[in-house]
C-alpha cells in the first residue's frame, strides 16, 4: 500500500493516471455505441489510419498527435463517403486503413526506419505522457463528452431504430458522420494510453463488459465508464509493479474483466433457466 502511495508521488505516474482516467470516460461512453452499432472494425481501421498521421507528424516535425487527429478524421470521412458509393462496408474500411498504414510505412522508411518516437506510439506510451498531452486530451475530451451528452438520445434512436429515425426526419446521415468523427478523435486519444495496436480494444472491451450486466442504456453507459476507469487504473499499477508494458497490461486486465462478467452472466442465466418460469412479474 505504501508502495502504491509512493508510486503516485511521481509526476509521470500522476499524468499517466489522469490521462488514462480521462480517456476511460470517453472510451466507455463511445464504446457502448460502437458495440451496439456494430462498428468495432471502424475503431481498428481508424487506429491504423492514425498511424499514417503519426508518421506524417514525425516525418515533418509537427506534433504527431495533432496530425494524427486530422488524418484519422479525414480517414473516417473517407470511409463514410466510400460506403455511400455502395462499396461493401468492410471493403471501404480496408481500403482507407490500408492507405493510412501504407502511407505511414513509406514515410517511416523515408525518415530512416522505426525510431523511438514511432515505437512509443505503437506500443506503450502512457508513462511518457507530458503535461502538454494532458492539456490536449482534456480539451478534446471536453468536446467529445459534450457532443455525446447532447446527441446521446439521437445516437440511441439511430442505433435502436434507424429506419424509424429516418422517417421521423432526424438527420441520420449527419449523425452517422458525426459519430465517425467522434470515433476518430477518441481513437487518437486512446492511442496515447494503450498504443495504436490496442486502441480498439480499450474502446470496445469495457463496453462489452458493461453490456453483460443487462442494464438499460443509461446504466450501461455509466457501467462502461466505471469499468474502463478501473481497468486503466489497475492495468497501469500492475504494469509498473511488474515492470511490464502498460498498454498491454490495461487491455489484458480489461479482457479478464470481460471474461469474469461473461462467466457471471452465464451462471445467472443458467440459474434462471433452471428456476421456476413464473418467477418474473408481469403486469
Amino acid at each position: 500500500m505504501a508502495d502504491l502511495v509512493t508510486l503516485f508521488q511521481y509526476g509521470f505516474m500522476q499524468r499517466a493516471l489522469l490521462a488514462g482516467l480521462l480517456i476511460s470516460v470517453v472510451c466507455g461512453l463511445l464504446g457502448v455505441f460502437v458495440v451496439l452499432r456494430r462498428t468495432a472494425p471502424l475503431g481498428d481501421a481508424l487506429a491504423h489510419v492514425s498511424f499514417g498521421g503519426v508518421a506524417l507528424g514525425i516525418a515533418f516535425g509537427f506534433l504527431p498527435l495533432y496530425v494524427a487527429i486530422v488524418v484519422a478524421v479525414a480517414g473516417g470521412i473517407a470511409m463514410r463517403l466510400l460506403q455511400e458509393r455502395r462499396l461493401y462496408g468492410e471493403l471501404s474500411l480496408m481500403i482507407v486503413q490500408a492507405a493510412g498504414l501504407a502511407g505511414g510505412i513509406v514515410l517511416v522508411s523515408l525518415v530512416g526506419g522505426l525510431n523511438v518516437d514511432i515505437l512509443s506510439f505503437l506500443f506503450a506510451p502512457i508513462l511518457t505522457v507530458a503535461w502538454s498531452d494532458v492539456t490536449l486530451i482534456v480539451g478534446l475530451l471536453a468536446v467529445t463528452v459534450a457532443v455525446l451528452a447532447v446527441f446521446y438520445k439521437e445516437f440511441f434512436l439511430v442505433t435502436f431504430d434507424p429506419e424509424g429515425a429516418r422517417v421521423s426526419g432526424l438527420p441520420v446521415r449527419a449523425l452517422d458522420l458525426g459519430f465517425t468523427v467522434l470515433t476518430a478523435v477518441t481513437v487518437v486519444l486512446a492511442m496515447r494510453v494503450v498504443g495504436i495496436l490496442l486502441v480498439s480494444a480499450l474502446i470496445v472491451v469495457p463496453a462489452a463488459t458493461a453490456l453483460q450486466l443487462r442494464l438499460g442504456l443509461r446504466g450501461t453507459l455509466v457501467a462502461a465508464v466505471a469499468i474502463a476507469s478501473l481497468c486503466v487504473a489497475a492495468g497501469l499499477v500492475l504494469s509498473v509493479f511488474l515492470n511490464a508494458a502498460s498498454g498491454g497490461m490495461i487491455v489484458l486486465v480489461s479482457i479478464a474483466a470481460l471474461l469474469a462478467s461473461m462467466a457471471t452472466a452465464g451462471a445467472s442465466t443458467r440459474a434462471v433457466s433452471r428456476g421456476p418460469r413464473s418467477s418474473q412479474p408481469r403486469a
Binding site: 447532447v150 431504430d161 421521423s168
Partner: protein, 270 residues
C-alpha cells in the same frame, strides 16, 4: 369515432386527405413492382393494406414514407407532395420485424418510449418534464404500466410490440404506419393489438395504415382495405372482402406472385 369529430380536432386548413396516392408506378431494375396505384387515407381512418407476398405492400409504404421515389405518379401527405413534405414528425413508422431486434440491446421500456419524444422534437432538443409525461401517458395507454423498468429484450412478443407502439404514439403523430405489426405475435396478443388500435384512434384521433398478409383478421378489424397485387385490386370498406370472387381475383390462379426474399416475409398460417 365519426370523421367529423376527428376533423374538428385539427385546424381547418388540414382538410386534405392524410395520404393521397395518385397513379403511382414503381419499377426496380426493370421489374414492375407497382402499376398505376390510386389510394387515399382519410383522417381518423384505419386502413389495412393486404395482398400476397411480393404484391408491393412494403414498397407502397416506402413510397408513402418518402424512403423511395415512384417511377411515375405522385404521393401527397397532408396535402403536400412527399418530395416537399417536411413535417415528418407527424408520422410514426414501425418497420417490419421491428420487434425482432437484438434481444441483448440494453434498453429499458421507459428509455425506448422516450425515444419517441426524440423523434418528435428533432435533433438538438433537451427532453423535459412534458416529454416524460407524454412517455408516461403512452406507456399507460399501451397497457405497459409496471413494465417501465424492464429490459425490452426480455419482454414477450406482444409486449415488445406494445413498447414500439408506445414509442410511436409518444411522439403524438397524426399518422401511424406499421408494416406487418402482428407477424410472430400470438392470437391473444393480436386481438389486444387491434383493441389497442381502436382505443388509440378514439383517444388520439390517430390515422393508421397497417400492412398485413393476413387478410382474414385485417378485414374484420379495420375500416377500409386496400388489396394490392402490383395493381390495386380493391380499395374500399373492409366488409366487402367477404366477397369470394374478389379474393379469387386477388390471390387466384393466373396471377404471377413474385417472391421478394428481403422485402416480404414468408406467409405464416394463423
Amino acid at each position: 369515432m365519426s370523421a367529423a369529430s376527428v376533423a374538428a380536432s385539427h385546424p381547418p386548413n388540414e382538410a386534405a386527405a392524410v395520404v393521397r396516392v395518385r397513379g403511382v408506378s414503381l419499377e426496380r431494375e426493370g421489374q414492375e413492382v407497382l402499376r398505376d396505384v390510386d389510394l387515399s387515407v382519410e383522417r381518423g381512418e384505419i386502413l389495412g393494406i393486404v395482398g400476397p407476398n411480393g404484391g408491393g405492400k412494403t414498397s407502397l409504404l416506402r413510397l408513402v414514407l418518402g424512403l423511395e421515389r415512384p417511377t411515375a405518379g405522385e404521393v401527397e401527405l397532408f396535402g403536400v407532395p412527399v418530395s416537399r413534405f417536411r413535417e415528418w414528425r407527424r408520422i410514426a413508422y414501425i418497420p417490419q420485424h421491428a420487434t425482432a431486434f437484438d434481444p441483448h440491446f440494453p434498453a429499458i421500456v421507459r428509455e425506448v418510449v422516450l425515444l419517441g419524444r426524440v423523434a418528435r422534437r428533432g435533433a438538438l432538443h433537451w427532453l423535459g418534464a412534458e416529454d416524460r409525461e407524454a412517455a408516461r401517458r403512452a406507456i399507460e395507454l399501451c397497457g405497459l404500466s409496471g413494465l417501465e423498468g424492464r429490459r425490452v429484450g426480455a419482454l414477450s412478443g406482444g409486449e415488445k410490440q406494445r413498447v414500439f407502439i408506445a414509442k410511436a404514439i409518444a411522439a403524438r403523430p397524426d399518422l401511424l404506419v406499421m408494416d406487418e405489426p402482428t407477424a410472430g405475435v400470438d392470437p391473444e396478443s393480436e386481438r389486444r393489438f387491434y383493441d389497442l388500435l381502436s382505443e388509440l384512434r378514439a383517444e388520439l384521433g390517430l390515422t393508421v395504415i397497417l400492412v398485413s398478409h393476413d387478410l382474414g383478421v385485417v378485414s374484420a378489424r379495420v375500416d377500409r382495405v386496400a388489396c394490392l397485387n402490383r395493381t390495386l385490386v380493391y380499395h374500399g370498406p373492409a366488409a366487402a372482402l367477404e366477397d369470394k370472387d374478389l379474393l379469387g381475383r386477388l390471390y387466384g390462379a393466373g396471377r404471377v406472385v413474385i417472391a421478394h426474399g428481403a422485402d416480404e416475409p414468408p406467409v405464416h398460417g394463423h
